[in-house]
């Protein structure tokens, strides 16, 4: 049987209660998923709100992806809670001084918004399926379409107005939702590693790059799977977006890291020991080097040369995969890193993730895979590629 808790080895002096790490790898996955949602939504809004036509191809797809991801966001939290059945206590009696208290409301609002926008976007397909789809399931699609089967031009114009409005509301909501996740960590004064006013913005920009990267990877893979040609203008647009936001994200993280070291407050010796020791590979080599600078240089080269062929697709997709990996590592280095540096400022704890169990790596992997399983199922029912198919 899985033990009740895992004891973390330590060096130096740590408080006895710190030898069990409170937040596991599931709490690494939670901000990662939220970030992907925010990023995917931003990409979708680049077309729906900002009218950037090169993103039209992926606008519906990223919107659907944002929904699939968002409904899975509560999963890691529920798995982590000691009493998941009491999760609604936070909504029934939200303790308003807590950064966590509004999560339920924020998430519920955002899921509702995403469902509404997706509904308006895919309503014509529901209507179509309700009339011409597989017979035994027609009633279901009529139900999903909520009996609204008017596909006339005025009706579609009306739908479009709603999509536009929802996308506009969705931008501050996405930004707020993810900035707030950063605040959950940044507002804690007990951990020097987290305690920073920059945390919400850092989380936000890394969210946008991860979401954009995910759209790139998912779009390219779906084109390969469906055997359709990749829209190069779209890939180029996404590459520019990724490049621009990546620069800001890296700058913010660099500034935050530099000021942490420069401020050199109490416990800096231990932080330096951590930075020079356990952090070298996951942070400097993998997150910053491989995951951030390689894509940054690659994308800079592409932007400079203005490549426009197969090489563009390969280079951008590779960069996107690396960025996805780097942001996951960033979440890990923040969430776990903060807990590995003892509150005593005189010791380090080592987190060793369990493989099995409710908070193990397998569970985390399952949670990470769940939204994509959901996306694959959704793609069996509706197609976000209608424009492509018509072309």
């Amino acid at each position: 049987m899985e033990p009740l808790f895992h004891v973390a080895p330590f060096t130096g002096y740590v408080y006895p209660n710190e030898t069990v790490i409170p937040w596991s790898v599931l709490i690494v996955v939670y901000p990662y998923l939220t970030g992907l949602v925010a990023g995917a939504f931003v990409v979708s809004s680049l077309y729906h709100v900002f009218g950037m036509r090169q993103f039209e191809v992926v606008s519906k797809f990223s919107l659907l992806m944002a929904l699939c991801l968002m409904v899975c966001v509560p999963l890691p939290l529920l798995l982590h809670l000691g009493h998941p059945e009491r999760a609604f206590n936070a909504m029934i009696t939200p303790h308003l001084t807590s950064a966590f208290a509004i999560f339920g409301y924020a998430a519920a609002f955002y899921v509702t918004l995403l469902m509404l926008e997706n509904w308006f976007v895919f309503r014509p397909q529901f209507v179509h399926l309700g009339q011409n789809g597989w017979k035994p399931a027609r009633w279901l699609f009529r139900l999903v379409a909520l009996g609204s089967d008017d596909l006339s031009e005025p009706a579609m114009r009306y739908d479009h107005k709603w999509i536009h409005a929802l996308a506009i509301i969705g931008i501050p909501a996405a930004v707020g939702l993810h900035g707030y996740v950063g605040f959950v960590f940044g507002s804690l004064k007990s951990r020097e590693w987290w305690s920073s006013d920059l945390m919400p913005v850092i989380f936000l920009f890394s969210a946008i790059i991860s979401g954009t990267a995910l759209v790139i990877v998912a779009y390219v893979s779906s084109c390969k799977l469906r055997k359709v040609s990749i829209d190069l203008a779209c890939i180029k647009g996404l590459a520019y977006t990724l490049w621009g936001f990546l620069i800001v994200a890296l700058l913010l993280e660099g500034v935050e890291f530099a000021s942490l070291l420069y401020r050199s407050r109490e416990g800096i010796e231990m932080i330096m020991q951590y930075v020079r020791g356990p952090l070298v590979v996951p942070f400097f080599v993998l997150q910053v080097g491989l995951g951030s600078f390689v894509p940054l240089l690659t994308l800079t080269y592409l932007v400079w040369r203005g490549a426009n062929d197969r090489a563009l697709v390969v280079a951008v997709t590779t960069s996107a995969v690396l960025v996805l990996f780097a942001v996951l590592l960033m979440r890990y280095n923040v969430v776990i890193g903060g807990q590995e540096i003892s509150k005593t400022g005189a010791g380090l704890v080592t987190y060793r993730p369990a493989v099995f169990g409710r908070e193990g790596l397998l569970a985390a992997g399952f949670v990470l895979a769940a939204p994509f399983a959901l996306l694959l199922i959704s793609l069996r029912v509706v197609s976000p590629w209608s424009k492509e198919a018509a072309a």
């Binding site: 006895p16 208290a101 509150k343």
Partner: protein, 281 residues
């Protein structure tokens, strides 16, 4: 602990019942928000007004509990740790403590002290088991320049960071100054464990909720002293009521120049120390 939970739970239930009546009148819509924002203040008042506090004859508006530690007296016998574990049914392992004792040893030629607690593997080996507590004589052959013990526990802060971050209000500050956790309402997110700068909180894995020192609330509301204070053979640990000028704590604070741990956090702890050193966090 069971008793503590029951006390807290009953107080909470009564308050929720009263609040429910109020909320029914006020309208359901605003109630949820109101409940969260004012839970503590309203809770206290309603419990007092009805005299519904679970312990007969105890009025929590009449006390202001505080704790004092005279580190110069502590001999590191660890009876307090053992008493606490037994009294409060705390897991008998080396990773969950409501109170612990730190040992600071400055060796000749070394700038930083060597710090350990009863939970250190060497000390556990000396004690014989995780449920037994003693400090190993590990510096026998070393040249010790300065050494002292520091008992630690929840500081029951005036501005507790743990209460601030609790998303449900399951952990709260009582009117008599104690920070408690409602084990039947806690969702087990461990945000409070993260927020406490003193490492005083831990997760009760069997119950799925956060846990910490309650100053033995089940005892002090009956006029008894916390278990750790009761068993301390050298009066290194003192407990009392700040409203009572002659209580051991009031006298201690009056007679000494006391310190608190990590004053820079703004948490305003209510455990007052004498005889600690710059390296004590």
């Amino acid at each position: 602990m069971k008793k503590t939970n029951d006390l807290a739970q009953r107080a909470r239930r009564n308050f929720l019942r009263d609040l429910g009546r109020g909320a029914a009148c006020a309208g359901a819509a605003g109630a949820g928000v109101l409940l969260g924002a004012t839970s503590q203040a309203t809770g206290k008042q309603s419990a007092d007004a009805n005299g519904s506090f679970p312990v007969q004859g105890y009025d929590w508006t009449k006390h202001r509990w505080a704790y004092a530690v005279d580190a110069t007296r502590c001999i590191g016998c660890l009876r307090c740790v053992e008493a606490c574990k037994r009294e409060n049914n705390v897991a008998l392992d080396a990773n969950h403590f409501r109170t612990w004792v730190e040992r600071y040893v400055y060796l000749e030629g070394e700038e930083k002290p060597r710090i350990d607690t009863q939970a250190d593997p060497v000390n556990i080996e000396a004690a014989g088991a995780e449920g037994k507590y003693r400090f190993a004589n590990r510096y026998e052959d070393a040249k010790v320049e300065k050494a002292f013990f520091v008992p630690k526990l929840c500081n029951h802060c005036t501005h507790p960071a743990c209460v601030q971050v609790c998303p449900t209000g399951a952990t709260y500050k009582t009117q008599d100054g104690v920070v408690l956790i409602d084990h039947k309402y806690c969702i087990g997110c461990q945000y409070c464990v993260q927020a406490c700068p003193y490492g005083a909180r831990f997760f009760n894995h069997a119950k799925g909720v956060s846990e910490k020192c309650t100053w033995c609330y089940h005892r002090i509301t009956k006029g008894l002293r916390p278990a750790c204070v009761e068993v301390c053979p050298v009066e290194a640990r003192l407990f009392g009521d700040l409203n009572d000028k002659d209580s051991p704590v009031s006298r201690f604070i009056r007679d000494n120049r006391v310190q608190v741990l990590r004053p820079e956090t703004g948490n305003a702890p209510n455990v007052f120390y004498v005889g600690i050193d710059k390296e004590v966090r």
